[in-house]
């Protein structure tokens, strides 16, 4: 998959570091905003029996208010672990995670999370799923219902308010999961490969949906993905991690201008950024990753089709 664009000669592309004036001005405004999330020298060691594995090593970065940050990296780089630490579902070994200056110690409604699996509560209707967080956090039933219906309107699913999750398609479920998290008005929305289980067309539509939602409300998003196109399409900045242990390789400012559209997938800025990401991911995966997953031995050809069409 990552070899798809090998044919592009880097010399023909602009540098991914080149930004148009509009893009640069946008980043300047973005960085002038307050810091919402600050991750400072974060490390995580998993202990299984007597073996200790360093999953995340010395991760530091900041996100600003209303920023869209994507985290990419080869498998095993600990990007999901990072999201879970930020959510408070996993503890960390050293360093600090600060949300608006407050250390993160446990899960809370100030950080919403959308998981890859569909985690809608199957016993609640779509509307009641969205109401769940609101009621838990002390809103009256009536108020929660009003807000839930507004959120469903935002994603165009108000007709499905009384449906149960099993009656929805995967993409619809994830849209409900997103507004369920957003209904609590968290400071930050963590998304752990939320579209990973969806088919390609649905995923593309969901990305557009997400950008649309993000444009309309005041939310900072940290989005974990292994899909580089997705990362570039969605993100203001892309945090690239390397594997074994997970370390920050680079925090890339995406030079693709806003508003984003699918036409931009073939613009020079997009391709330059993608080429850079591929270079980093390839390097970051290292040798042991390939050994882990096994390589093809191109020795024998086990086919008896004799027509010579490959």
């Amino acid at each position: 998959m990552t070899h798809m664009n090998k044919m592009i000669v880097p010399g023909e592309l602009p540098s991914y570091l080149d930004q148009s004036a509009a893009v640069r001005a946008r980043f300047d405004r973005l960085k002038a905003r307050e810091v919402i999330l600050k991750v400072d020298h974060l490390s995580k060691v998993f202990t299984t029996g007597k073996r200790e594995t360093l999953a995340l090593n010395d991760i530091s970065f900041e996100t600003h208010r209303r920023e869209f940050l994507c985290v990419v990296g080869p498998s095993g780089c600990g990007k999901s672990t990072l999201a879970r630490i930020l959510a408070g579902l996993e503890d960390y070994t050293s360093g600090e995670v600060l949300l608006q200056g407050q250390p993160v110690t446990e899960p809370g409604s100030d950080r919403g999370m959308v998981f890859q699996g569909y985690t809608l509560f199957p016993w609640l209707t779509v509307k009641k799923n969205v109401m769940f967080g609101l009621e838990i956090n002390g809103k009256s039933r009536h108020e929660a219902e009003q807000q839930a219906l507004q959120w469903l309107q935002l994603i165009g699913l108000e007709k499905f308010a009384e449906c149960y999750p099993h009656q929805l398609s995967g993409g619809m479920k994830q849209r409900v999961a997103i507004v369920r998290a957003l209904a609590n008005q968290p400071r930050i929305l963590l998304m752990d490969e939320p579209f990973g289980a969806l088919d390609a067309q649905t995923r593309a539509r969901m990305q557009a949906h997400l950008l649309e939602i993000w444009r309309k409300i005041d939310i900072t998003i940290v989005f974990i993905t292994h899909d580089l196109d997705e990362a570039i399409f969605l993100a203001d900045r892309v945090l690239v991690l390397s594997a074994h242990p997970g370390e920050v390789q680079e925090l890339i400012e995406v030079p693709v201008p806003h508003p984003r559209s699918t036409n931009q997938f073939i613009t020079p800025e997009f391709l330059a950024t993608k080429a850079r990401l591929e270079e980093l991911i390839h390097k970051g995966a290292g040798h042991d990753a390939e050994e882990d997953e096994g390589t093809y031995q191109m020795v024998t050809r086990l086919t008896d089709v004799t027509d010579d069409v490959d």
Binding site: A87, G88, L89, P107, G108, S109, R111, G112, M113, F115, G117, T119, F121, P122, W123, L124, F132, G133, I136, N137, G156, F160, C163, Y164, P165, H166, Q167, L168, S169, G170, G171, M172, A177, R180, A181, N184, L190, D199, Q201, T202, R205
Partner: protein, 353 residues
């Protein structure tokens, strides 16, 4: 693939719109594919389901009919129709074929009138029509003595014993099971002992229960509680542990804490499975009934069965046993239908009901 249509039914699917065409084609493709009865992990058609469901009752009854009505199948005894010259024989008496043959031979050698008989099954195996008749007559036949109960009274007594045994067990067992499944500390402090206790046969506590609770319903209910409770805690704890952790994590990130997590996520999350467990456990409670009713003064349906067996009315014995089966299966079917109403979201229903 053929399931995708039914899975999404009831919703107009925006997401699938793009692939609508191939999705519509699949059911037709599925009907074209060869359909057999022996396909691994494939559901039957509704018609085949009904057919096989009826067969599951028809087959054993048919076997019983063959043994009862086909004279050369089994029939190890002879029922006397005419005692002839043998004075110790009576009409309706049964005896082994070999004995009958020797009596006949003896009578013939003495030049006396030999007895007549037809081959028959032992008295403990009545024919289906006799049992079917008994299912009705057992209810309308007055009890042998004035103060003893009618069959329907005996049955009602048994149902009450089962009900209270199961309710008392559930009042403690269900919450304890959920707590054990939710909190590892609860599980650790109670489950090892419960594991030990569940191997102790409930009837073994009969004498003890009589000594403590007297001879009436107290010890009977106790036996059913002992038989149900320990399994109940372990089964429900396991069911609780099978709850998808991701749901709990999602609730945590929505700000759910402590008791609300238990009340609003764990319990509703396991409810359909919990209900299924209770249905199975109720079935087990019935199996403890007969033993329980023998303790102290014999009562309920057990009293009826032992009485009828004493008079060798085995058609009534079978009728009573089948009535227990009918009540048990009937309750379970009603509970299963109720579950569809109670848990409209439950995807496991299709598999069990």
């Amino acid at each position: 693939m053929s399931d995708s249509g039914s899975l999404n039914s009831g919703a107009v699917l925006e997401e699938v719109a793009a692939q609508e065409l191939p999705a519509r084609l699949t059911p037709r493709a599925a009907t074209r594919r060869k359909r057999g009865w022996f396909q691994v992990l494939r559901p039957l058609t509704p018609r085949a389901r009904l057919l096989f469901g009826i067969l599951s009752f028809v087959l054993p009854i048919a076997a019983w009919c063959v043994v009862s009505y086909v004279p050369f199948v089994w029939h190890p005894q002879v029922e006397i129709t005419d005692p002839g010259s043998v004075d110790y024989l009576q009409v309706g008496m049964r005896m082994n074929k070999a004995d009958f043959a020797s009596i006949v031979a003896e009578a013939k050698s003495d030049h006396k009138d030999p007895p007549q008989g037809v081959s028959s099954n032992p008295i403990y195996l009545p024919a289906p029509h006799e049992v079917a008749k008994a299912m009705y007559t057992a209810f309308v036949t007055p009890p042998p003595t004035k103060d003893s109960p009618w069959l329907h009274q005996s049955l009602w007594h048994s149902i009450q014993v089962i009900f209270w045994g199961f309710v008392i067990s559930s009042i403690i067992g269900v919450p304890l099971g959920i707590l054990c499944g939710t909190y590892a500390a609860f599980a650790r402090v109670s489950e090892p002992f419960i594991e030990f206790f569940r191997y102790l046969p409930a009837p073994a506590f009969g004498a003890l229960a009589v000594a403590i609770l007297g001879i009436y319903d107290g010890p009977k209910i106790t036996i059913i509680v002992i038989g149900t409770f320990f399994q109940q805690v372990l089964i429900i704890a396991n069911t609780t542990r099978k709850l998808d952790v991701a749901l709990v994590e999602a609730a945590l990130t929505l700000g759910t804490r402590n008791f609300k997590l238990l009340w609003r996520v764990v319990i509703p999350g396991i409810l359909p499975d919990l209900y299924r467990d209770q249905r199975i456990l109720l079935g087990w409670a019935w199996t403890y009934l007969i033993v329980a009713e023998l303790i102290g003064t014999t009562s309920g349906i057990t009293w009826f069965i032992t009485q009828q067996a004493r008079y060798q009315h085995f058609d009534n014995v079978y009728a009573a046993i089948f009535i227990i089966g009918i009540i048990g299966l009937g309750t379970d079917i009603v509970l299963a239908l109720l579950a569809r109403r109670l848990f409209p979201w439950d995807r496991g229903l299709a598999k069990t009901a």
